[in-house]
């Protein structure tokens, strides 16, 4: 077996599956292969993190809508596949369901007008709800500073990523030399200071564009620095 084949079995090993013989064979390979051992360590870290933080993740805002979108996508893909393979002796119902629809100019115009009408109504309704301070409306783009909830949400999302990479760094940190540890800690403090300062500014002035940018930059810097040092 080569490394690729061993790495395919690692997930089972970490989850406690696989026969005793398999486990022994993989363990003996891991003792001599640094690359595979690192992959195993990654799996262990990911599994450990997931166990530790089970139930802490945000629920999907609209679970049913998400499932509907997924099932629609799957159905659409199945329909394309089915259309590509219409059997010669298929029934008329089957052919009707799998035919490609060709519309006349009038039909097409009516369809377009209907779509425009529906989209306009939906847009107007959404705008009304937005401007009337609808509690469930959130913009999709970066919303830091528009209100405290979105700021906290965004910060919490990043914090989960930061917590993951921080755990990875802490695993390896003991192996670093004291100078490297000190350098890393000092620089992390610089980024944390920038984060805290911008958060403070945003608390006072939620629409401050400079603090928003610094907060985003500092969060990205922090994740990037942790990622870089997680491999050390």
């Amino acid at each position: 077996m080569n490394c690729e084949q061993y790495q395919e079995l690692l997930s089972d090993l970490v989850d406690g599956f696989g026969s005793g013989e398999d486990r022994n064979r993989i363990e003996s390979h891991l003792s001599g292969c640094v690359a595979c051992a690192e992959v195993r360590d990654d799996f262990v870290a990911i599994a450990g993190y997931c166990h530790e933080h089970r139930g802490e993740y945000d629920a999907v805002p609209n679970e049913r809508a998400l499932w509907l979108r997924i099932s629609n996508t799957i159905e659409a893909e199945n329909a394309v596949r089915a259309k590509e393979s219409v059997p010669s002796g298929a029934s008329s119902w089957f052919r009707l369901m799998n035919r490609s629809w060709q519309l006349s100019f009038g039909q097409l115009a009516v369809a377009v007008a209907a779509i425009v009408l529906v989209v306009s109504i939906a847009t107007v309704a959404s705008m009304k709800q937005l401007y009337s301070g609808g509690s469930n409306v959130r913009t999709a783009g970066p919303t830091i500073g528009t209100n405290n909830i979105s700021l906290d949400d965004r910060y919490r999302q990043q914090k989960q990523a930061i917590a993951y990479w921080k755990d990875r760094v802490e695993l390896n940190k003991a192996r670093w030399n004291p100078e490297m540890r000190d350098t890393f800690d000092r620089n992390m403090t610089v980024i944390d200071t920038a984060l805290n300062d911008s958060m403070k500014q945003l608390t006072q002035n939620p629409h401050d564009p400079v603090s928003e940018d610094i907060l985003n930059d500092a969060l990205n810097d922090k994740v990037a620095l942790l990622k870089e040092f997680a491999d050390l």
Partner: protein
């Protein structure tokens, strides 16, 4: 007449011999601990150098020869150092070459290459100094602490970023070029010719942005002066300067 007693003279003699011995042993130990390697690589006029170091200084200079000379001084003799020649130029990745090694130590590089080269330099800590590059790209990134000094630069794209340390740029901005300077904690100084043109976004929460001779009333102060935006000259180059804790200074050449 003898100035010192024979006992004192003997003591001085013994001490001198001991000192000489100690110095010899010390120098030998230092020489054995450090290793210096120098390698040459053929290069065209427009070559690209990529260097990813772990710790130590990186100095890049130009010369009139069509070749690259890499001189590396390493603290640890067991460090893997395997420069790789590619179609575009030369790749040195100390981080990848020594993955899994506990303590690689400092590795100091001096690199000489043709002026029309592009350089992409990165280290986890240590200083980066680049002089007289006239190629397409100059990128200097220090993940943690270290100063960046870029002088005599005339490149279309320049990126200089660190977390702690000063950044100094002395060069020209090409029309249509992109220039980004970012430090977490340090002073950023840009020394530019009087006739240069660029569109600026300079951000420093400390409010210490000194535009010097490049200031004009058309420039806009944002968030109580923590950001300055505006065009200087023809405004054809895009310049972004960001500093979390420190000053931003513009100087005229």
């Amino acid at each position: 007449m003898k100035l010192f007693s024979s006992a004192t003279r003997n003591w001085v003699k013994s001490f001198s011999v001991f000192l000489l011995l100690a110095l010899t042993v010390g120098a030998a130990h230092l020489a054995s601990a450090q290793q210096k390697v120098s390698r040459h690589y053929p290069a065209g006029k427009n070559v690209r150098l990529e260097l990813k170091n772990i710790a130590g200084t990186i100095t890049v200079e130009t010369w009139a020869r069509d070749e690259i000379r890499v001189t590396a001084t390493m603290d640890n003799r067991k460090v893997n150092f395997n420069p790789r020649q590619t179609d575009a130029g030369l790749v040195i990745d100390i981080a990848a070459d020594n993955r899994g090694k506990v303590d690689v130590g400092d590795m100091n590089f001096k690199i000489e290459l043709p002026a029309r080269s592009s350089v992409d330099l990165e280290t986890r800590s240590g200083q980066i100094t680049v002089s007289n590059i006239q190629g397409d790209l100059v990128r200097a990134h220090i993940w943690t602490s270290g100063d960046i000094t870029l002088s005599g630069i005339n490149a279309a794209r320049v990126f200089a970023t660190n977390t702690t340390g000063d950044i100094y740029f002395d060069g020209e901005f090409s029309s249509g070029g992109t220039y980004e300077f970012k430090s977490g904690k340090g002073n950023i100084t840009l020394r530019l010719p009087a006739n240069c043109g660029f569109r600026l976004v300079a951000t420093a929460p400390t409010k210490e942005i000194k535009m010097g001779p490049f200031w004009h009333p058309g420039m806009k102060l944002v968030s109580e002066g923590r950001r300055i935006t505006g065009d200087v000259g023809d405004g054809r180059a895009s310049v972004t300067v960001t500093n979390y804790q420190g000053t931003i200074n513009f100087l005229r050449r």
